[in-house]
Amino acid sequence: MNYQKIEKDNYNLHIINTSKFKTVKVCINFKEKIEKETITIRNFLSFLLINSSKKYKTLRDIEIETQELYNVGIKVDPYKSGNYHIMSFELTHLNEKYTEKGMNKKSLEFLLELIFNPNVTKNKFDSEMFNIIKSNIKDDIKSVKDNPGRYSLIELYSSISKGPLSYSNVGYLEDLKEIDEYTLYEYYKKMISNDWIDIFIIGDIDDSLVSLFDKYIKNQKKSKITDSHFLNIVPTKYKEKIKKVKYNQSQLAMALIPESLTEFERKYVMSLYSIILGGGTNSKLFQNVREKNSLCYSIGSNPSLISGIITIKAGIDASNYKKTVALIKKEIDDMKCNITTEELKQAKEMYISSCREINDSSDSIINNYLSFEYLNFDLVDERINNINKVKKKDIYDLAAKLVLDKIVLLEGVLEDD
C-alpha cells in the first residue's frame, strides 16, 4: 500500500494505491466552518446533487447509469465534525479488471458530473427534484425524535452545550423555509469556490485517472483553514433531566466531561478508558449492570474524541432508574483506582485488533487518513506503538478529571401496555 498526498492549487489529492481490493473507492469532501444557520442548506444541497444533474435529470436516469456501470455505489454523507461541517460524496465501483475496460474512468466521471454539473438553468435549480428533496428534509427534521436512542442523545447534547455539539444533524424548519431554487444555487456557487476540498482515492489505479479531477475542479480557489476541529467542552453544573415519553422502554444517557485533556489523553487514554468502562461484553458496565443485575439488554460507553466527552447509554425499566444510575456511578468510581492489569491488557488488545483491521477495508483506510489529515491523529503503526505506552496511572489521571456532568432519562410510560 502506497500513500501519496498531492497539494494542488485548489484541492488536496490523497492517493492510496493498493491491489488488495477488487473495488476502487473515491471520497470527495467539502469542508467549511460549521454555522448553525447553514447546516440545513448544506444538507439540502448534498442530497439534491446526488439525486439529479444536468446529464442525469431524474433519479431513474441515475439508477439506470449505476446499473450500466456494473452496480456502482454513490452516496453522500453530510456530517458535523466538531467545528466543521463536511459534505462527503462517495463512489465505490468494481475495478475495470473485473468488468470491462474504460469503466474506471466512466464511473469517476459519473460522480463528478453529479457534483460539478448540476441541473441548473438561469441561475436556479430545476424545481422537480428540488421540491422532492425539500419535502424529504422537512420529514427528516420533524421525525428526528422518532428513534428513542437518538432522541436521548439529542436531549443530552442540548443540556451540555449551545454550540456545535448540540446543533441538529438534519437541520431546522425555519432555515428550510428560507431556501428556494435561487438561494440554493447561490449557496452552491459559494460552496464550490470557498469550501476546502480533499479527495481520497483508493484502489489499483493509474495516474491518468486522477487527471480527471483537474478537468472538473477548475475555478475554485483554496481557502486557508487553520482552526482546530476539536470542541472545547468543560463540565458546568450537574444536571438531571427527566422527560416522559410514549415508549415501552426507558432510555438512559449520561455524559462524562473532562476538566481538561492532554493530546495523548485524547488520542489514546480516552479510548482505553471507554473500552474498560463500557466498550464491550467484558466491560465493567456490561458485566455488572447487565450480567450480574439483569437491568438491561444494551449498555455501553462511547468516547467522542472530537468533543472529549464519554457518553454512557442504556435501555432500562423506568422503575430501575435509581438503582441503575447508582451501579453505573460505582463503576465510574472504580475507574479512578480499581482497574486490573488484565483489564488494561485486554483493552489494549481490543484496540490493537481494531487498528490492524483498518487495513482490511477501503472505507476504514480512507477514514484513517481522514483523521490523520483533519485531526492530526496517528496512522496504524504509530497507534499500535503508542497504545502500548498507556499505563494504569494514565487511566486513573484521566478518570480523576472526568466529571459526571449530565444525566438524561426518557421515561417510558407505556409500561404493561
Binding site: R60, N71, D139, K145, K246, Q249, S353
Partner: protein, 424 residues
C-alpha cells in the same frame, strides 16, 4: 477434504463432513488480518413444535425459546465464560438467532485454533440452572421492549403475525414478555438435545487461515466428544392456507410520518423453478418494480401520495412467498389502490431485466472482497437450500428473461395484509 474453486471470484472453498455429521466449510483469504468463524444450528424460532429426541410425543415449547437458549449457552459450569475467554484472546464473540437458524461466532486475529476450539466447546456444553434461567428473563425482557419501541421491527413483526395463520414464522424471534416467563431449564435441555446435534449443525470459517490446519483442528476437537447416532428431527407439519389471518391493523406508535406496510402472500408450490431462482427473481422483481429505478415510485412522490421512496423486502416459506412494500404516506387508501392496480398490470422489459442481471453479477464480485459476506453466503445456502452453490457468478448468468416472466406470471396478488402505523 474437498477443494473447489469459486469461478471468477479468485476464491477456493474447502469442505469436509465429519462422521458425526458436522459439516465444515473454509474459504481462505490471506490478504486480510481477521478470521471470521461461525458455528450454526439449523434451528430457530419457528421450530417450536416437534418430537423431542428419543421420545414419541409431539410437544409445543414456549415462543422465543431458540433465542433464549442462544443467550443461555453463554453460561458455563466451570472455567471461563465466553465473553471472558474471548476478551483474553483479543477476539470478539457474539451470537444471533433468526426464525430458522442460530449462530455463534467469533472474529479474531491470533490464537485462532484456541478460539475455534473454545467456540466448539462452549456451544456443546450447556449449563442451565433455575437461577441462571430466571436471571436472563430481565435482560431479554428489555431486548423485547427495545424492538417493540422501534416502528421498523414492530411493524414488520405485526405484519407477519397477520399474514400467517399457523406458520410459526408469525411469532417474533424473541417471543413475548409473557411467553419467555414460562421458559424453564427443562425446556432448554429438551430443545438443546434435539437441535444441537452435529448432524444438524455446520461450521464456516472465512479469512486468514490455513484450510488444512483448521479442518484438522475441528476434527480433533470433535473426536473427543460423544454424540448419539444422528436421528431425523420430526417437526410438526404446518398447514397454512393462502388466505391471510387478518387483513388490516392500525398501530399507534411514536412516529411522525405515518407508514403503511403491505404484504402480498403468494402461493409458490406450483412454480416450476428452484428455491434459489425464486429468491433471485423475487429480489430482481422488487427492485425493478419498486426501487428508485421504477417510474411508479417517483410518480407517487410527485403526486404527493407518498413522502419518499418505497422500501421493500421478502419472506419465503416452503409454500409461500411474501412480498412486502413499505410506504410513508398520509393517503393510505389512494396508495393501496394504485399499488394493487400497478402490480396486476405492469410488465418488465427484457432490457430492464438484463441491466438488473448486471447488478446481480457484480454483487458476487463485491461479495468476494468481504469475509463476512462470503461467510453469510455459505450459511444462507446451507439453511435456505441445504446445498452449496459453488459458482454464484454462473448461477446469475444463466438466469433468463423467459424464466423471469414465468415467475411473474405465477404471482397472484389477491391475498394481502396491511399494517398502518401512525401517531396516537
Amino acid at each position: 477434504m474437498i477443494k473447489k474453486s469459486i469461478k471468477k471470484l479468485d476464491l477456493d472453498i474447502y469442505e469436509e463432513t465429519l462422521e458425526n455429521g458436522l459439516k465444515i466449510f473454509v474459504v481462505p483469504k490471506l490478504d486480510v488480518h481477521n478470521v471470521y468463524a461461525t458455528f450454526s444450528t439449523k434451528y430457530g424460532s419457528k421450530d417450536n413444535e416437534f418430537i423431542p429426541i428419543n421420545e414419541n410425543e409431539m410437544i409445543k415449547v414456549p415462543d422465543g425459546i431458540a433465542h433464549f437458549l442462544e443467550h443461555k449457552l453463554f453460561e458455563q459450569k466451570k472455567g471461563l465464560k465466553p465473553f471472558d475467554f474471548y476478551s483474553k484472546t483479543g477476539a470478539d464473540c457474539n451470537a444471533n438467532t433468526s426464525y430458522n437458524k442460530t449462530t455463534y461466532l467469533f472474529v479474531g486475529q491470533s490464537k485462532i485454533k484456541e478460539n475455534l476450539n473454545y467456540l466448539l466447546d462452549f456451544v456443546s456444553q450447556p449449563y442451565f440452572t433455575d437461577e441462571n434461567v430466571e436471571k436472563e428473563k430481565g435482560i431479554i425482557e428489555q431486548e423485547i421492549k427495545m424492538y417493540q419501541d422501534d416502528p421498523e421491527s414492530n411493524g414488520f413483526e405485526k405484519l407477519l403475525f397477520n399474514i400467517f395463520n399457523n406458520n410459526p414464522i408469525r411469532i417474533p424471534v424473541g417471543g413475548t414478555v409473557e411467553s419467555i416467563a414460562k421458559i424453564t431449564k427443562e425446556h432448554l435441555y429438551t430443545c438443546y438435545n434435539t437441535f444441537y446435534h452435529p448432524s444438524n449443525m455446520f461450521v464456516v470459517i472465512t479469512g486468514n487461515v490455513n484450510p488444512k490446519e483448521i479442518i484438522d483442528a475441528v476434527k480433533e476437537n470433535q473426536k473427543e466428544k460423544m454424540f448419539i447416532k444422528p436421528q431425523k428431527i420430526k417437526l410438526k407439519e404446518i398447514k397454512e392456507p393462502d388466505e391471510v389471518y387478518k387483513k388490516h391493523e392500525t398501530l399507534n406508535m411514536n412516529i411522525t410520518i405515518p407508514k403503511l406496510l403491505v404484504g402480498y402472500k403468494i402461493n409458490i408450490e406450483n412454480l416450476k423453478l428452484n428455491k434459489e431462482e425464486i429468491d433471485a427473481f423475487a429480489s430482481a422483481y422488487l427492485n425493478l418494480m419498486f426501487g428508485s429505478i421504477s417510474i411508479f415510485s417517483l410518480d407517487l412522490i410527485k403526486e404527493g401520495i407518498i413522502n419518499r421512496e418505497l422500501s421493500f423486502s421478502k419472506v419465503k416459506t416452503d409454500k409461500h412467498l411474501v412480498l412486502i412494500i413499505e410506504a410513508y404516506t398520509n393517503k393510505k387508501k389512494v396508495f393501496l389502490d394504485k399499488l394493487n392496480e400497478y402490480v396486476k398490470s405492469h410488465t418488465i422489459e427484457s432490457s430492464e431485466f438484463n441491466r438488473e442481471k448486471k447488478v446481480m453479477l457484480s454483487s458476487t464480485i463485491y461479495m468476494s472482497d468481504n469475509i463476512y459476506r462470503i461467510n453469510s453466503y455459505i450459511m444462507n445456502h446451507m439453511v435456505e437450500y441445504n446445498k452449496m452453490e459453488y459458482n454464484p457468478y454462473d448461477f446469475f448468468k444463466k438466469l433468463t428473461y423467459n424464466d423471469f416472466n414465468k415467475f411473474i406470471k405465477a404471482l397472484s396478488f389477491e391475498n394481502y395484509s396491511t399494517i398502518y402505523i401512525k401517531n396516537s
